[in-house]
């Protein structure tokens, strides 16, 4: 059970955390980070699974199914795209990447 005020504290602290993470980020990482945060809200998949897991009528099940499909797409797609972007970041200092120069 999440008490109303406890939830408010969680909301507040999580919001500060998100704000602080972005505030110090260099511009070159904005797109990957946006993509990364897009992946993180793929946690919606968990909620969709719970909703489908407790759906009863065929209509609810259908909506829940679509929800899980979309949530899974968010999580998997967000991961692949972010990973592909970050894969490319290399340093020109020796030893930091295989094609470093």
């Amino acid at each position: 059970m999440i008490d109303g005020f406890l939830a408010l504290y969680i909301f507040m602290l999580a919001a500060f955390t998100g704000y602080e993470i972005i505030a110090r980020v260099p511009v070159i990482l904005h797109t990957p980070l946006m993509s990364g945060s897009n992946f993180v809200h793929g946690i919606v998949l968990v909620g969709a699974m719970i909703a489908l897991g407790h759906a009863n009528t065929p209509f609810e099940i259908a909506i829940g199914f679509v929800g899980v499909l979309l949530g899974a797409g968010n999580a998997a797609g967000g991961y692949v795209v972010t990973e592909r972007m970050l894969e490319m970041f290399k340093s020109s200092k020796p030893g930091a990447g295989k094609e470093a120069k």
């Binding site: 909301f11 993470i21 099940i61």
Partner: protein, 485 residues
């Protein structure tokens, strides 16, 4: 089995921790790669734990939906070109918003049913206490939960339809801005209607017709709000919808009593909001202006630009750079469109071999999102420490021998500093005009994306190298090779 709920809760806690640490690592180029992997483990842990929640039905369907969703997204995500990344982010983000809306829909329908408005079978409500005991959810939805559930569904649905339009626009399926008189009033009415119906739902008047009307209105509002926005503003809009989805996930997480969703969603909501502000600021526009304004609405006659554009051929341009001490390359989105980033890096490497100090200068909104150009250069193999931000490179331009501008226009236009009547007045720019020599590679003599004349092209120290980006840089490469012998 009393230890199972504790283990599942612990998994959610670990997942939330991994998400935050992962995002933290993603905020530095050195650790960024590991960051997404950490967050990925968090996601895997949370999803696996959810399978073991007691009292879950439809497990077969859940597994099927997860498999289909994951493999479809994995496949498309692997195949898409790097230039198409922004619209893929929009697409996956829209899916997340849709999932949040779907959760809200299942909750509301179940609530309507359990409160006897649909069929009088309260025992089979998805929100019946036994079903949720493991989550510690209260027997019925409290007013706060109902309100946040409705709000999350509203935001999620808007994010879903809006992101899909953003995707279609960036993908080039929908080029035109869709504008008609009184549009703003229509949009406001749609939003107001959605909110009114939402309030009715939230105070307990759940009926199938109202629920259907609510989602129809929310989806329509997301659609109508995004249609009039032009392609250049899309990054800001996508970032905003990313924040929206985060909030929607957080609110639905509260209704489900799932801490991992609350925390991850809210972190993304806040981070996304700040990122949206940073992007809008870099483009010298407010978020309100992007959503409700139209570009170039500033009045006044623009100052006339005097002088003529002075052309240069590739051979001369190559000589200027080959014997320079410092060269700064300023790539714009035109470079990515021409797929010239690999050629540019080849050219830069030739200069570096000759002992020229080469840097790449990136405007915050170069490309289609902040940092998009960095990704495109990184794809071509340019090391990130040769890439400089606007604030770092601007003081260096006076000591720069040659600035090479490829496919960038408005972000190097000095009019932004000199002409208060210009629509881009006040926008931070790269002070390329301060370099000793400027070479601009450009297709023709036309104006930029915003249709504004560029004073840089007429400056005394600027030479124009006309041609397609890819071909022009190819010529430069050959000319420098010829000098090297």
């Amino acid at each position: 089995m009393s230890w199972l709920p504790t283990i599942i809760k612990a998994c959610y806690f670990l997942a939330a921790l991994l998400f935050i640490l992962g995002l933290k690592r993603m905020s530095s180029p050195r650790t960024a790669r590991g960051g997404i992997v950490w967050a990925g483990y968090g996601m895997l842990l949370a999803v696996l734990a959810t399978f073991f929640l007691p009292d879950m039905h439809n497990r077969g369907l859940i597994i099927a939906a997860v498999l289909i969703g994951v493999s479809a997204a994995w496949w498309t995500g692997r195949r898409v070109a790097m230039t198409a990344m922004p619209q893929m982010v929009a697409l996956y983000n829209g899916m997340g918003g849709g999932a949040a809306a779907a959760i809200g829909a299942v909750e509301l329908i179940g609530y309507a049913r359990s409160s006897g408005l649909l069929h009088a079978v309260p025992d089979t409500s998805p929100l019946r206490p036994e079903a949720w005991a493991v989550n510690g959810l209260p027997p019925a939805l409290s007013p706060t939960e109902l309100a946040l559930g409705v709000l999350g569904a509203l935001i999620g649905a808007v994010s879903f339809s809006g992101s899909m339009i953003a995707f279609a626009k960036l993908q080039g399926w929908m080029d035109k801005r869709f504008v008609f008189p009184g549009q703003r009033a229509v949009n406001l009415l749609l939003l107001a209607a959605a909110v009114v119906v939402g309030v009715l739902l939230a105070i307990g008047h759940a009926s199938p017709a109202l629920i259907a009307a609510f989602f129809a209105l929310a989806l329509a509002f997301g659609l109508m709000m995004t249609l009039p926005i032009g392609g250049a503003d899309m990054p800001v809009v996508i970032s905003l919808y990313n924040a929206f989805t985060g909030l929607a996930v957080s609110f639905e997480g509260f209704v489900l009593g799932n801490e991992a969703m609350i925390i991850a969603g809210m972190v993304v909501g806040a981070a996304g909001t700040l990122l949206t502000q940073l992007m809008a600021k870099a483009m010298n526009r407010s978020i309100g202006n992007v959503l409700f304004g139209s570009f170039g609405a500033a009045g006044g006659e623009a100052q006339a630009i005097e002088g003529a554009q002075k052309p240069v051929d590739a051979a001369d341009a190559a000589v200027m750079m080959a014997y320079a001490e410092r060269v700064v390359i300023v790539p714009g989105y035109g470079l990515a469109v021409a797929q010239a980033q690999h050629k540019v890096w080849e050219f830069a490497q030739l200069l570096i071999k000759r002992g020229v100090k080469v840097k790449f200068a990136i405007h915050p909104v170069a490309g289609r999102m902040p940092g998009h150009m960095n990704v495109l250069l990184a794809e071509a193999g340019v090391p990130y420490d040769l890439i400089a931000d606007m604030d770092d490179i601007n003081p260096e331009f006076p000591a720069t021998d040659v600035a090479l501008v490829i496919g960038a226009n408005d972000v190097v236009n000095p009019v932004a500093k000199t002409d208060p009547a210009s629509p881009i007045y006040g926008m931070p720019i790269l002070d390329v005009v301060n370099a000793k020599q400027v070479i601009v590679i450009k297709r023709g003599k036309g104006t930029g994306f915003a249709g504004i004349e560029n004073a840089l092209f007429y400056a005394d120290n600027t030479r124009m190298l006309y041609g397609d980006g890819q071909a022009a840089v190819g010529e430069l490469v050959n000319e420098v090779k010829a000098i090297d012998g």
